[in-house]
Symmetry: C2
Subunit: 254 residues, 2 copies
């Protein structure tokens, strides 16, 4: 019997954002692997075994799930958001490349989901309505100098920037340093969005400006969007403002 | 009575990728606006009026939908993929900013969806597993020189690049020129993915290299992903290859 490994995106917190495909593949799995809080979102099912692990153990989790599927089971690894964006799909591919040849023969199914930047953008308007970059601020797996270089490249070329993993207990200063770096390139009035725990009860989305943006507003559950020179804010009386980036860019220096 | 305008992402072709929220908001709408082929994906519902328009009429469609919602109706505008990524959410925000003050008082709901690059990436592995840029190749709304500048910035800083709108009847040469531009920065062996009509019956996903990539492989329904220097291909006997970008980047010049 040949096993299957599915890598499934749960979308942001609420089950309303789960796709039908993700729900079906989850229901068919015999074993689930994932970071505990993500597994907690999946409705329990009789006969389905859950293997929770810490969020820093992606490599080991991928190997364990592949080994389990290699024994002929239908196994699913769950990610919040989309599994392909700073999540488990790359960890599984790394493990397949480094692992035994039999892992390449497994049926691998990646099930996409609504990633955090799309959910945050939807809450506030359309800040990603024009060209944008998606960058993880974690320097656990790449040098900080590379992150700075990418921030410089993205901001000076007029990309809107979505920042994943802005802060953690072991990475307290990186978001502040990134905002300071971006102030070299962008006007003080550039809109900045902090989207925290979108689609969960504790959701909080705030709009500020680059000069006023305070890194202490962000935590591990926050996604930060820094606008470009073209990004605009529409004030609305009695409603939260809209932030959007127009489809058209008139100038090369936009 | 106060109207509502919902801007809804249908995800890639198949209804399996629709979120539960999108399905519920679609079902509650009294009128739907959208590009004809997207409206055709929505199951018909008694009493619901559909207003189809051409895909080049985004501004006029946004205005018509806002005016309809302004008369107190529950109106939905549909987009393929995610409405916030080169789609209707920005067009609606533009119309709100330029329109009558009453449009700012409307209840605006943006419902996110699985955008094309996430669906294509899921089919092939995890090419977007590290920092990436998302760029529209359409020069209808921005100068070609700006697109070139962004391609230069993205490739030289080590971002993977997802290209939307690579080609259309009126824009036949842009993808070829973009690939040529990227060859200045990236090795000939850089993996390139052409994802056509993902999640539809005519789906076709092919993996090639930057030197062999041929713009004529793409059409209006294609999303192109160009890897970085770090992107890898895993050959699998009897299965299609996997393309992924590792989570770690060791070098500043990666």
């Amino acid at each position: 019997m040949s096993g299957q490994l599915a890598v499934i995106g749960l979308g942001p917190g609420d089950a309303r954002y789960l796709t039908r495909e993700a729900a079906e593949v989850l229901a068919a799995a015999q074993a689930l692997y994932g970071y505990g809080p993500y597994l907690d979102r999946v409705p329990p099912r009789a006969g389905q075994v859950c293997h929770a692990s810490d969020n820093r153990e992606e490599g080991a989790r991928a190997q364990a799930a592949l080994a389990h599927a290699g024994r002929g089971a239908r196994v699913a690894v769950v990610s919040g958001g989309d599994p392909g964006v700073f999540a488990m799909a790359a960890a599984v591919c790394e493990a397949i490349e480094a692992g035994p040849p039999s892992w390449r023969a497994l049926d691998l199914l990646v099930v996409p989901g609504v990633t955090a930047m799309l959910a945050v953008a939807a809450r506030i308007g359309a800040p990603l309505g024009h060209d944008f970059c998606t960058l993880s601020l974690s320097d656990n797996l790449k040098p900080w100098e590379l992150i700075e270089r990418r921030l410089d490249a993205a901001a000076s070329a007029g990309f809107v920037i979505a920042l994943y993993n802005p802060v953690s207990r072991s990475r307290p200063w990186q978001l502040g340093a990134a905002l300071e770096r971006l102030r070299r390139h962008l006007p003080p009035s550039t809109p900045v969005v902090f989207g925290r725990a979108v689609a969960r009860p504790e959701e909080q989305v705030t709009v500020t400006t680059l000069d006023a943006a305070d890194a202490s507003q962000a935590d591990m559950a926050t996604l930060v969007i820094v606008g470009s020179r073209a990004t605009r804010v529409i004030a609305r009386s009695g409603r939260s403002p809209l932030v959007y980036t127009p489809r058209a860019a008139a100038e090369v220096n936009a």
